[in-house]
């Protein structure tokens, strides 16, 4: 493996060990918040519903990244040129980004719902802060790193373009629509 692969591995470990557990505990704290639980505010059900959706979506994202996306990225680094069945990183990253967009959408709705809150919502605001300052920032760096590897890392670039068909799911779908 090249030096870029080692660095990629370090970033993956950082996400798994530092970034994701912090956000997981912040989400749990904001759901378990006693001020929210004791509140009778009309916004309470909406906020709880959003927090549960954020928790589920984030847990789902972690599952896919740990089990499929991260191993796939490393597999593309390690692959020999003759390898035939490599993951379609382009599709995987697009699916991941779609989930990240859903999370960002939920967080934006949460921020809106908290505007008229009637309880001490420091824990929910902390979740928004950690999400934007930690998770979003780290994922931007991750996506930038992948883009850099595609553009400049010899082994990654070769396997990404030569072995992985860069057709997105939507492109495939559109092509199939045209055929039928």
């Amino acid at each position: 493996m090249c030096k870029h692969a080692d660095h990629t591995n370090e970033i993956i470990d950082h996400l798994k060990i530092d970034v994701y557990p912090l956000l997981q505990s912040t989400i749990s704290n904001s759901i378990d918040c006693k001020f929210l639980k004791e509140s009778n505010a009309p916004e309470k059900p909406i906020v709880i519903d959003l927090l549960v959706q954020i928790k589920n979506e984030f847990q789902s994202l972690i599952t896919y990244e740990k089990k499929l996306v991260f191993p796939s990225v490393l597999k593309v680094f390690k692959a020999k040129k003759s390898s035939t069945s490599l993951p379609n990183l382009n599709d995987l990253l697009q699916l991941t980004k779609s989930k990240e967009h859903k999370l960002i959408h939920h967080i934006a709705k949460l921020e809106l719902a908290l505007k008229h809150k009637k309880w001490d919502s420091v824990l929910q605001y902390n979740l928004i802060h950690v999400f934007l300052e930690n998770f979003v920032r780290e994922k931007l760096l991750w996506n930038k790193m992948i883009q850099d590897r595609i553009e400049s890392c010899g082994c990654f670039k070769r396997n990404y373009f030569d072995q992985v068909q860069p057709a997105t799911s939507k492109t495939i779908a559109n092509n199939e629509d045209n055929v039928t």
């Binding site: 789902s60 069945s85 379609n88 599709d91 995987l92 699916l95 859903k102 799911s169 939507k170 199939e176």
Partner: protein, 100 residues
């Protein structure tokens, strides 16, 4: 009041069912992107138990079996034992509610 509660309950059940269908479709797309297709260009090139698929979806094994059966009836996928073929990819993507 009773009717309102019933409507709210139905709405919640409907939302959660939609959500779990979305998540199943999403799981199948992740598996397709990771393992690709076999030579027939339809069958996902991996063998997973229903428990393993349920784990990806974040649902119970029973719910996973029911959902796969629904997708099969809707002609989105075809099931051959532990193998799954995607026979209507556009509909699967639509069901997954993938954003740009």
């Amino acid at each position: 009041m009773g009717n309102d509660l019933k409507e709210a309950e139905d709405h919640i059940v409907s939302l959660s069912q939609k959500n779990v269908r979305e998540r199943m479709a999403e799981a199948l797309l992740f598996l397709k992107a990771t393992y690709g297709f076999e030579d027939d260009q339809k069958t996902i090139n991996v063998t997973l138990s229903r428990e393993e698929i349920a784990d990806y979806v974040g649902t119970s094994t029973e719910s996973c079996i029911r959902l796969l059966s629904e997708f099969n009836q809707d002609k989105i996928i075809a099931i051959h034992g532990k193998k799954i073929s995607i026979i209507n990819l556009p509909l699967l993507i639509q069901t997954a509610n993938i954003e740009d």
